[in-house]
């Protein structure tokens, strides 16, 4: 609320004005905070009420399962390598699901982003269509597509792969089009001036500028997709998640199997995260050196 005060206004007036503005601002902030806290607390109450075990009950039991798991795994430590070896193909499958869906999704996302960026799109009229389709692909949770595809295609890695690829296409479509918006148009215009067609302009004028960012976002997406493919396995698509669910349903006595899978999953996720962050760092460094 900018108020123009006359030059003769005394500092007291300015001070008064400032303080009342500040009070009002603080009051709004306070009201917002109270509303938010009320929402949080009542939401917490509802969740607590609807849950099978209350928070305090659960916390007293929270270490029971890990303890069972660790003691059993410790007791049968000799079996762990054999269990890990048995589950290894499933782990490879999970990684493959993530990798293929990342590649396919990023290719699709690139196309969606190109079709949805003003100034770069081949058919500018289709820009809203491309954007809305990216939004829809992004909004549909992977589990929905995966479960429906499992019904049609049967269990296995392909439904999970398709589901993750569709979601990836939507998410990357949005991120990539944000990158595209910052493209320097001079090289593109230069290419246009020598008679390059749309494809040549894009390939030679746009891609060299955006590729490092694309790759970096794709690596981040790979980290996310490894987790997604493990979790989708748990609801029926193949891979390590499926093995984990089986090991869990066997229950007590088979927890050493579950422990082996937990360890492998943890190691894989950390490895992929490290690898990806190393590659992203070298991408940005390589770019800075040029």
């Amino acid at each position: 609320m900018p108020t123009v005060l006359p030059a003769s206004a005394r500092t007291v007036d300015i001070r008064e004005e400032y303080l009342s503005l500040n009070r009002r601002k603080r009051m709004y902030g306070g009201i917002l905070l109270i509303v938010f806290l009320a929402m949080f607390v009542s939401g917490f109450r509802i969740a607590e009420h609807r849950n099978a075990a209350s928070l305090s009950e659960g916390f007293s039991r929270i270490l029971d399962f890990p303890r069972d798991l660790v003691t059993e795994a410790w007791g049968n430590a000799a079996n762990l390598p054999a269990h890990a070896a048995r589950a290894f193909p499933a782990l490879v499958e999970t990684v493959n699901i993530a990798l293929v869906s990342t590649i396919l999704g990023c290719i699709l996302g690139t196309l969606l982003a190109l079709a949805g960026t003003r100034g770069l799109a081949r058919w500018p009229r289709l820009i809203p269509l491309a954007r809305r389709s990216a939004d829809v692909c992004r909004a549909v949770p992977e589990i929905v597509i995966a479960l429906v595809l499992i019904f049609i295609l049967g269990g296995g890695p392909v439904p999970a792969m398709i589901a993750i690829a569709i979601h990836t296409a939507g998410a990357q479509g949005k991120l990539f089009s944000e990158v595209n918006e910052n493209v320097d148009m001079k090289p593109v215009e230069g290419l246009a001036s020598v008679g390059a067609n749309w494809w040549q302009r894009t390939w030679l004028g746009v891609f060299p500028q955006v590729m490092p960012n694309y790759l970096s976002y794709s690596l981040l997406r790979l980290e996310i997709n490894i987790r997604a493919s493990a979790i989708l396995g748990f609801v029926g698509a193949g891979g390590i998640g499926y093995e984990l669910r089986n090991a869990m349903t066997f229950g007590q006595g088979k927890f050493d199997q579950a422990a082996a899978i937990f360890l492998m999953l943890f190691a894989t996720i950390v490895l992929v995260d490290q690898l990806s962050s190393w590659m992203r760092n070298s991408l940005t460094r390589g770019r800075g050196a040029q």
């Binding site: 949080f40 939401g43 969740a47 849950n51 029971d64 890990p66 049609i152 049967g154 979790i231 943890f266």
Partner: protein, 440 residues
């Protein structure tokens, strides 16, 4: 001079050759990898195993429904119901008008001029192109075709059972039961079930009833009755579905904000400019890394063992996973704060708490909020899948509906609701981001 030019030329050519080799090698490697995956995932076998008829069932069931006219051959009682469900049986006085009862005779009109007549033990299916197919119930069931020659493809007959399947509908005759169904577009009884007096009212009539019609329920006004009958629809259970959607949103909300509340103070301990102790910093950072590394899946399993099914379990799973990510993001944001502002606040004699409140928080708030809102939107999606694992919210309803493999219209309904929820959360978080961050 020429030697230098020659060298430069060689260098440039070499670089281009390398680039061309790379440009060739990358697609080749990619193709090789895809070929490997094609074999590893057994895609060719999958194409053969794929049940395309399942896809047809799914699609047709998602957009259409069947009304059955079933007669018990022993008692001669006729029941008209949606999808053959006992809960959705039409009362005697509200049977649709394409089914006409005339004493013992029942005439069922199907589409395209097809019709079926039940007349005691004699059943007749009138096919406009083929002629009347007469079936007599007895032991065995007799089939009398209007044209000589072999039994056509659309009739499947044995001594105990005759099935006539056409695009107009299907007639099934066994010794105990005669059943005909006809397809209709849309979702059956979506707004009101057959027990509700509002079923079958047009939108105009309904509006008039709500606005000023006489009370259909003595104890409550009409608009409340409409709402009550809608939410308690026995087929679609809208009330439960909306509650489940709310639970999913609640999981995301509690999880995201709870994680932020836990991560913010810890982030100070992990930030170089606020925590001088290297060991403490190192320890807190490794905790963040560990929490991020142990996947949401693992936390979800451990928590669902301790807390049982419900939204709190899902919220905690999101909370723990995200507190690691938030901790890392927040501590990086804190390390990038400008020391000058803090010193400025300090110069006015502010104590430590005031320094944080007026020197640090205003600097990091925009970034924190924007990350928080991004996570809120993405966690709404995660909450669906976590709900499917821990057993809460719309995720649970969705998996249950898919596992019955019969209620595809409900699966479609839930999917639409989930997508709407995610889009709404996306819009809300975008709006808040603009208001809170750019508006400042």
């Amino acid at each position: 001079m020429t030697a230098i030019a020659e060298d430069a030329r060689k260098l440039a050519l070499g670089a281009m050759r390398r680039k061309r080799a790379m440009a060739l090698a990358a697609p080749v490697l990619l193709m090789a990898y895809f070929a490997y995956v094609f074999v590893a995932f057994d895609v060719s076998g999958l194409v053969q195993r794929a049940k395309m008829d399942n896809a047809v069932i799914l699609l047709s069931d998602a957009v259409s429904y069947k009304i059955h006219a079933t007669r018990d051959n022993r008692s001669d009682a006729l029941a008209v119901s949606v999808e053959g469900s006992r809960r959705a049986t039409y009362p005697e006085d509200r049977i649709p008008d394409w089914i006409r009862q005339d004493g013992d005779r029942t005439l069922i009109e199907l589409t395209d001029g097809h019709s079926v007549t039940y007349d005691g033990p004699r059943i007749s299916y009138d096919h406009p192109d083929y002629g009347p197919i007469r079936i007599t119930i007895g032991n065995p069931i007799l089939l009398d075709l209007p044209q000589p020659g072999p039994v056509p493809d659309f009739i499947n007959a044995s001594d105990a059972r005759v099935v006539v399947t056409t695009d107009a509908g299907r007639l099934t005759v066994t010794r105990t039961r005669t059943d005909t169904f006809r397809y209709f577009w849309g979702w059956e009884l979506f707004f009101f079930d057959l027990q509700s007096p509002f079923h079958g009212m047009s939108a105009g009539t309904l509006a008039a009833t709500v606005a000023g019609g006489e009370r259909l329920h003595a104890d409550r006004p009409n608009w409340q009755a409409v709402l009550h009958d809608f939410l308690n629809n026995s087929i679609w259970r809208h009330g439960d579905v909306f509650f489940a959607i709310g639970e999913t949103a609640l999981m995301a909300f509690l999880g995201t904000f709870g994680a932020a509340a836990i991560a913010l103070p810890l982030a100070f301990l992990a930030a170089q400019n606020f925590t001088p102790s290297r060991w403490l910093r190192f320890a807190v950072r490794r905790v963040f890394d560990f929490v991020r590394g142990v996947d949401a899946l693992i936390f979800t399993i451990i928590l669902s063992r301790a807390f049982g099914p419900g939204p709190m379990t899902g919220a905690l799973a999101i909370l723990i996973t995200d507190s690691g990510s938030f901790g890392k993001l927040f501590s990086e944001a804190l390390e990038n704060t400008d020391q000058k502002q803090i010193e400025g606040v300090q110069s006015t004699g502010a104590n430590a708490l005031q320094r944080y409140r007026f020197g640090v928080i205003p600097q990091v708030m925009p970034l924190l909020l924007s990350q928080l809102l991004y996570f809120l939107e993405s966690n709404t999606r995660s909450a669906t899948i976590i709900g499917a694992i821990v057993g809460g919210g719309i995720g649970l309803m969705l998996t249950q509906a898919i596992q019955t493999t019969a209620d595809w219209e409900k699966v479609t309904y839930y999917m639409v609701l989930i997508v709407l929820l995610v889009i709404a959360m996306d819009a809300l978080s975008g709006w808040l981001r603009r208001r809170l961050i750019k508006g400042d």
